[in-house]
């Protein structure tokens, strides 16, 4: 299998005038939905590192095609937001399938390593501000060029999440309550923009000087930009560092300072909190979607099966936020 993939990679890279032997092709532990491979290409005297990101061709209900992720990353690159450089894009009917190849970015994406390793100790205090800045930059991308992305208002999204939850026929009192609560909230009257949709540790590459690159654009869409701020504050993405509201590493104040230093729309903490509940509910429904793919037999995957039992993490987080004064 690795050999076939090697040949397909070599052929694809030739289209981008990158010629050389494929070396050290290894799968990386990525998300549950995409294959990620790292490899090297040996030119006459130089070795360069690349990443292949490959989808199955079957997207979950909220995800975009992998090849569209590549188009989007190229668009974001134009406004100087930090994203890896794309070198080749392949569509589903090509040898390489729905995928793209990008330059490898030095740094760490595994959340627990970023939070624990000594190497990133000096980067962590800077990260919340940097994330705020980068999120604000993403929100300035010209959306008229992004015809492959769906536009969704907060209510569209909320109803989409709710009907997805309902379709799995596993009634949750906590989710019913959350849906009613969210329907009543003010999400902020703000112009629709590009939303990354999954901005958090795991989907950013961090070096010892901080944020290097934003990856994993599969949940991107056009909508209320504040979603990205609420999402990274969800406890699901604090990786055990409960007291650090932003991604397990920073404070909300710093995230908003970074965001407001670039964004024309100034954001306050209350709005972020509503979006935090929204994000936690959204992650809960995504867990349901992943588990359903295993349960309905479309894939047999231990990761997807296991994620069904993470829905309860989002329920306890929402209970904490709504009833117990959680942050």
């Amino acid at each position: 299998m690795t050999e076939e993939l090697s040949i397909a990679l070599q052929n694809k890279l030739l289209e981008a005038n990158i010629e050389g032997k494929i070396l050290n092709l290894v799968p990386l532990t990525g998300g549950a939905s995409k294959e990620i491979w790292k490899f090297e290409v040996q030119d006459t005297d130089e070795i360069k590192q690349y990443i292949l990101r490959k989808g199955s061709g079957i997207e979950g209900p909220l995800a975009i095609k992998t090849s569209d992720e590549a188009l989007l990353q190229q668009e974001v690159k134009k406004i100087n937001a930090p994203v890896p450089e794309i070198v080749a894009v392949s569509s589903l009917d090509e040898e390489l399938g729905d995928s793209y190849i990008m330059k490898f970015v030095e740094g760490e994406s595994i959340p627990r390593k970023v939070l624990r390793d000594n190497e990133y100790k000096d980067a962590l205090p800077l990260l919340a501000f940097q994330c705020g800045e980068s999120i604000a930059k993403i929100h300035e991308v010209e959306v008229n060029n992004l015809h492959y992305l769906q536009e969704k208002t907060p209510m569209d999204q909320l109803n989409e999440l709710y009907s997805t939850y309902e379709s799995f026929n596993q009634p949750s009192p906590m989710f019913e309550y959350t849906y009613l609560w969210l329907k009543d909230q003010d999400f902020g009257d703000i112009k629709a923009s590009l939303v990354h949709g999954d901005f958090r540790l795991g989907n950013i590459i961090v070096s010892n000087s901080g944020l290097e690159s934003i990856i994993d654009w599969e949940l991107a869409h056009i909508g209320n930009p504040l979603q990205d701020l609420g999402w990274i504050c969800g406890n699901s993405w604090r990786f055990g560092q409960n007291e650090k509201v932003v991604g397990g590493f920073g404070d909300l104040e710093d995230l908003l300072k970074g965001y407001n230093s670039i964004s024309k729309f100034k954001v306050n903490e209350n709005l972020v909190r509503t979006w935090q509940v929204f994000g936690t509910f959204r992650w809960g429904v995504i867990c349901l979607i992943q588990a359903a793919a295993h349960l309905n037999g479309s894939v047999n995957s231990i990761e997807k099966a296991a994620i069904g039992r993470r829905v309860s993490e989002t329920e306890i987080d929402i209970a904490d936020l709504l009833f117990l004064g959680g942050k």
Binding site: P171, G240, R309
Partner: protein, 120 residues
């Protein structure tokens, strides 16, 4: 139960131990990552066998006094909330939702930060 020892928990623990001590160090990183997931899954099953009944019963007792039917179900409560046939500001409802969430996570992931914070 009519079955001999080892019981189901003993058997699952034996699998978990084997994977952890004999297999994890022998496989490449991406498979070692999957073995960690498998261990987590085995531990969920073990906790559900050991504590599942007690944790469910505790919720059902609270639920019974809240909605006053002989055979309350989680589905029935979900429907009452959905149709707003129960006061969403009712403190007992909120208390029940907290117990339900806590007791589920107690099996699914007792190391989860919010759970640890709430039982301190």
């Amino acid at each position: 139960m009519i079955f001999d020892k080892p019981n189901s928990v003993d058997l699952l623990e034996a699998i978990s131990h084997f994977l952890n001590t004999k297999i994890k160090s022998e496989v490449p990183a991406h498979l070692a990552f999957k073995i960690r997931i498998i261990e987590n899954v085995l531990n969920i099953v073990i906790r559900e066998i050991e504590k599942g009944d007690k944790l469910s019963n505790e919720v059902m007792t609270q639920l019974q006094s809240l909605i006053e039917t002989d055979e309350p179900t989680i589905e029935a409560l979900a429907l009452l909330i959905k149709d707003e046939k129960i006061d969403l500001e009712d403190q007992d409802l909120k208390k029940l939702l907290v117990t339900l969430s806590k007791n589920k996570i107690a099996v699914d992931n007792p190391n989860y930060s919010t759970f640890k914070k709430l039982i301190e």
